[in-house]
Amino acid sequence: MRKTCLEEIYNLAKKDKRIVFVGSDLGAGVLSQFKDEIPDRFFMEGISEQHVIGLSAGLAMNGFIPYVNTIATFITRRCFEQIVVDVALHNLPVRLIGSGGGLVYAPLGPTHLAIDDIALIRTIPNMTIVAVSDAVEMKKFMQESVDYNGPIYIRLAKGGDPIVTSANRVFKIGKSYLVNKGKDILLITTGISLQIALKAKEMLIEKGINPGVLHVPTIKPIDKQAIIKYSKIFKSITTIEEGIISGGLGTAVGEILQETDYKGTFRKVGIPNKFSDKYGSQNDLLKYYKITPEDICHYVIS
């Protein structure tokens, strides 16, 4: 997914002179082809996230569409005010790409765990938040992102994530997708929690339960209409996210259910609002926080 995202920036930039790439201090060789072939629109500006966001705002105010990339915690926490003031207040087409969203950087500890990125960005007016589930969806989204009005935060997963979305399905920012029709129980996902939900669905089908799966790649603005519609059909709703449950997908869905006076059961699966005290791998932490297909089955059955 990460590779596809960066490749697409290069492909899009070749065709569209408004597109520029801005990085801080990324891994050696990142987008080297872009740098070699389009050097006047490639900027690696150093470990200076605050500046990188302001510079990108300045470029956007002059007709460019900057795609900005660095590690998710740095592009959200370090320069939060620059995102609010320089990008969102001016409502500019800056695309902020956070590498390693969620628990990807498990071995690197709490400074690198982007568990609060979505919650943070959700508080900012004018911001759009997108977390696609795989490379196929990423490619479609990137093409759609070019002419989208206003700023976008794009959460990247680990890379090499299993492909679970259909190549034929059209992607539209702001839309959710009912991936499995199901009955009674609805699992709502974003980013790679779609993979987790789909595995859980297979396990549940074996037990005679066929849950609906609603994939919500755009967390803000959320597809309110669809959530209201499905809340009238499903008796139980569970949101699954690789992030803190205070402020993320579950909160966004919960706000809508509260407004519509939902009478069914509603559960948020995610990370508690506390710093991680473990390392290991992304999967180790997903198990630790009980965000696995097995855990989802357990919640649904219980």
Binding site: S48, H51, I53, G54, Q82
Partner: protein, 269 residues
């Protein structure tokens, strides 16, 4: 010595705070001559077409000095002078910090310090990519040099050899709490900017003739971004406000104080 126009601009600023009874008056008085020079003699702008593609860009990074910007923009015809009197009122065009997309002539919303220079670097870089000739000017304060983000932007401007960028530093040696030397010493300021590979000049920031001369020639040197340290006095023009930290931001300004301000300015002409 302030000329008639400089006194008139300051009177407009006092008039602007008559309703709001608040504002960063001293911060505004510090930069009147710099802004006058820019808008009267330097910037290629079209007040009736503020988004003209080939205009020069100016960002007031020390957004709290906006009263001076508003008075100068109104004087140049970007909007009606009567707007000044609505400053900070509920429906006003003009708030306590300048807003982009709302106020004709304002190129970026500022107010939180340490942002304007990075945006200006983006503007200057955009001109480089487009091979455009428009210049970018940004006014920061010496206190703003406390911000780490300012120096991030300085590194980047220098690396990108933005010789189409001019950073004007309102060096009044004061900030909100008092004198900069007592809060966070920034001297030697010139050496700092030079060591970051800027072309640096110094000028009396209240002398419009000298300002015009220095700013007018600033882009002669190529391959380096430019900085002009403008030596100014916070509260310039009002004896009891000059170098007086309690006037950094004043609220609940009384009738008596308004009268004193007018009297003090009138006695200069």
């Amino acid at each position: 010595m302030l000329d008639k126009k400089s006194v008139e601009i300051r009177k407009k600023i006092v008039q602007a705070v008559k309703l709001s009874r608040r504002g960063h008056i001293a911060s505004a008085f510090s930069i009147v001559e710099i802004l006058r020079t820019l808008y009267e003699d330097i910037l290629h702008v079209k007040p009736k077409n503020p988004s003209w593609e080939n205009r020069d860009r100016f960002i007031l990074s020390k957004g709290h000095g906006c009263l001076a910007l508003y008075a100068v923009l109104a004087n140049r015809g970007f909007f009606k002078e009567s707007e000044l009197e609505t400053f900070c009122s509920f429906d006003s065009l003009l708030g306590g910090h300048p807003e982009y997309g709302k106020i004709p002539g304002v190129e970026a919303s500022t107010g939180s310090l340490g942002h304007g220079l990075s945006i200006a670097v983006g503007f200057a870089l955009a001109q480089k990519i487009k091979h455009g000739n428009s210049k970018t000017y940004v006014l920061i304060s010496d206190g703003e040099c406390n911000e780490g983000s300012t120096w991030e932007a300085v590194l980047s401007a220098s690396k990108n050899k933005l010789d189409n960028l001019c950073v004007l530093i309102d060096c009044n040696k004061m900030q909100s709490y008092g004198f900069t030397k007592d809060i966070s010493e920034i001297e030697p300021l010139r050496k700092k900017w030079e060591s970051f590979n800027f072309d640096v000049k110094e000028v009396d920031g209240h002398n419009t003739g000298k300002l015009k001369k220095v700013i007018g020639k600033v882009f002669e040197k190529k391959k380096k971004p430019h900085a002009i340290i403008c030596h100014t006095v916070k509260g310039k023009g009002i004896s009891f406000m000059e170098n007086n930290a309690s006037w950094h931001h004043k609220s609940k300004i009384s009738d008596e104080e308004i009268e004193k301000l007018y009297y003090s300015l009138s006695s200069r002409t």
